[in-house]
């Protein structure tokens, strides 16, 4: 591990069991952890302005190297002065490596089990080859051939000038056997070295790099990967790859990984963001999460809610809410809940009005930020276990 406050510093401020609060100091302001990182996939949190995302309490978003490479391309973003100034976002930015998306194409939905694929509809999108050198794929935008390799991914992320870059890795599918996973994990480690070597020479000043722990569902491979990643000069650790076929297996995989990470390292869990998963991840010591779930659900008319029996979501297009004058979630401070009824929001959602998406993205991100705030408070007060159990059981985070 590297410890260079000019790139990134992480200070633990409280612990409660394995859960911890902290302050992640980036080149674009500090982020209180545990924190959720909304996806600004293609340079925007879909449906919200950058100022609105900040207004919801977020200090960091995640940009997707794969999507931004395809459009508008790294040159344009470099010329705009990096992704921060391109998208008018003064907070911190973490960028992924593109590995998840290109391997999703190759494996036919690498992580459909719990993560959903990175594939976008519309154009031709396919992986042409996966080799030691890197991955070649066809742009979904114009069919042109593009390559991502450790060096190419770092180069794109250098153009994006994110505060935290992620190394290029293969995200193994849950269906991969031990042999495949072992070989893949070993390659991910070789790729980690290439990423760090490129970044050491060419990386932008102040950009931190997180390594990614792979190893699938195999305990020894996860341990090996933890050791490899944490012995290299990374500024933080992300946990990637399949986390299993279901939530139970996910808990198992996290449990064979988290305890072996150094306390001082900031820990990011890739692609996980359902309400109960966030609660369990924080309990196991995760500091930051990114996930498409809150924003993608909103685009499909679904609102996060304290309802465990329906996966903590309400489908506003299907629920019977006509005449229901109550708020979406009683006590939620978001605009949808402060100013509108379930009746109206379900009407807007069924009518597929843009305003519905706008209000629901705001609600879902506000709700997740309330979860994070509640978790931070509970950890500081030494009652995180009870908090998480209450939220998983159906309590709203501001009362748990």
């Amino acid at each position: 591990m590297r410890d260079d406050p000019a790139r990134l510093s992480f200070e633990r401020t409280a612990t409660d069991g394995a859960a911890r609060t902290g302050l992640l100091k980036t080149g674009h302001g500090p982020v209180e952890t545990p924190a959720f990182v909304p996806l600004a996939t293609s340079g925007t949190v879909r449906g919200l302005s950058s100022a609105e995302v900040e207004g919801l309490g977020y200090g960091m978003v995640l940009g997707n190297t794969y999507h931004l490479l395809v459009s508008p391309g790294p040159d344009r973003i470099r010329e705009a002065g990096g992704l921060h100034s391109f998208m008018g976002w003064d907070g911190a930015i973490i960028t992924d490596s593109g590995g998840f998306q290109v391997f999703s194409l190759a494996h036919g939905g690498v992580a459909d089990e719990i993560k959903g694929t990175g594939r976008r509809s519309g154009g031709p999108a396919e992986t042409i080859s996966i080799e030691e050198e890197g991955v070649t794929f066809r742009s979904y935008r114009d069919g042109s051939l593009l390559t991502l390799s450790p060096e190419a991914s770092m180069e794109v992320q250098a153009a994006l000038a994110s505060d935290i870059a992620l190394v290029f890795d293969e995200c193994t599918p849950a269906s991969a056997d031990r042999d495949y996973t072992a070989a893949s994990t070993a390659r991910t480690h070789r790729w980690l070295d290439r990423c760090l070597a490129w970044h050491e020479v060419n990386g932008p000043v102040g950009q931190a790099v997180y390594g990614i722990v792979q190893g699938g569902v195999f305990e020894d491979l996860r341990r090996e990967s933890v050791e490899y990643v944490t012995s290299s000069a990374v500024d933080g650790v992300a946990i990637g790859g399949t986390l299993g076929r279901d939530k139970e297996e996910m808990g198992g995989v996290l449990s064979m990984t988290m305890p072996f990470l150094p306390d001082a390292a900031p820990r990011h869990l890739l692609g996980i963001g359902e309400v109960d998963d966030l609660m369990r991840g924080i309990g196991l010591g995760v500091d930051t999460f990114d996930c498409a779930v809150p924003t993608r659900l909103a685009r499909h008319g679904m609102a996060l809610a304290p309802e465990p029996e329906s996966r903590y979501r309400i489908d506003l297009r299907k629920s019977r809410m006509t005449g229901d004058e109550g708020p979406l979630v009683e006590g939620c401070r978001c605009e949808a809940c402060s100013n509108h009824t379930r009746d109206y929001l379900s009407y807007l959602s069924r009518a597929e009005e843009l305003t519905a998406v706008h209000l629901l993205v705001g609600h879902n991100l506000s709700y997740v930020e309330s979860l994070m705030e509640g978790a931070r408070r509970a950890i500081r007060e030494g009652r995180y276990g009870g908090f998480a159990e209450a939220v998983i059981g159906g309590a709203v985070p501001w009362e748990a």
Copy 2:
């Protein structure tokens, strides 16, 4: 004309030639005029929350009886306590009568010339019959038969409980000859009487009613209509129907109508909202305008701008703005202009990101509100002519 402050009062506060400023006091707050009234077609200004519309400086929106009749239906809105509480909007609401939309269907786009049609894509929508009693049409939502008549329109508007209702009229197309227009205008007058008779007995307490002046492009018919409407018990006057085939003819039609309206009556110009038309309308004494243009343009990637040679709009999907780090419109106070570059906004628009629509609706409505603010200031300062000329010539409203 009726003068009942318990329904509506209008106080002229300054005049400059025919242009005037005023205060329109509705049951939901006062509106400074001249004012633009954004369309909340189906119960939302598409892409913005009600609070955001208010934040842009608007005190009144327009709801479409036709669309709200089709979905979600007047019963649901009545049960929600009216359109204000249904959509969470505390400001004033004017509702149109549905006449424009049902006649647009019948006439195959009544006002394509300058207004665009009210037709929505998607479902089956056709007018089945036009008779003295009313108009029967097929719902674009589910194909069911619906009827709008003077009484039915007022009944829907009573359920919506708007502050200002509009009488049911026929919007004659520019292609109509004198005979057709005369017969249609006479029927519109009979319908006016039926609307007022229904409203007198059944209208909600406090709801004002505007009559609609028709008469096509024929001076004597317009004058006749002005006389008929202003001798009836209406609270205000709207100018409807075709305003001609082009902007010049529109000026002519307005000039044969506006001078004959009583000074004390509030005057609404239906369906007009391009930058130069707004400036000319205000110069002729119009107090309020509604129009789909600012919001519809935004949904198609077009931003209002002080550019007369391109109809005061920039097509962000077509313009070459890559690398242009300037704001959309220098000095504009909206969020798109304060916080984002042309480069980014054109990228978002081409990518058809929701955020582009959200930001552009905000920009276009902010820009129009700046036009109105500028006009009110210029009228108060006795320099409206110069202001309007400067804006029409390409000045930004905050510098004209």
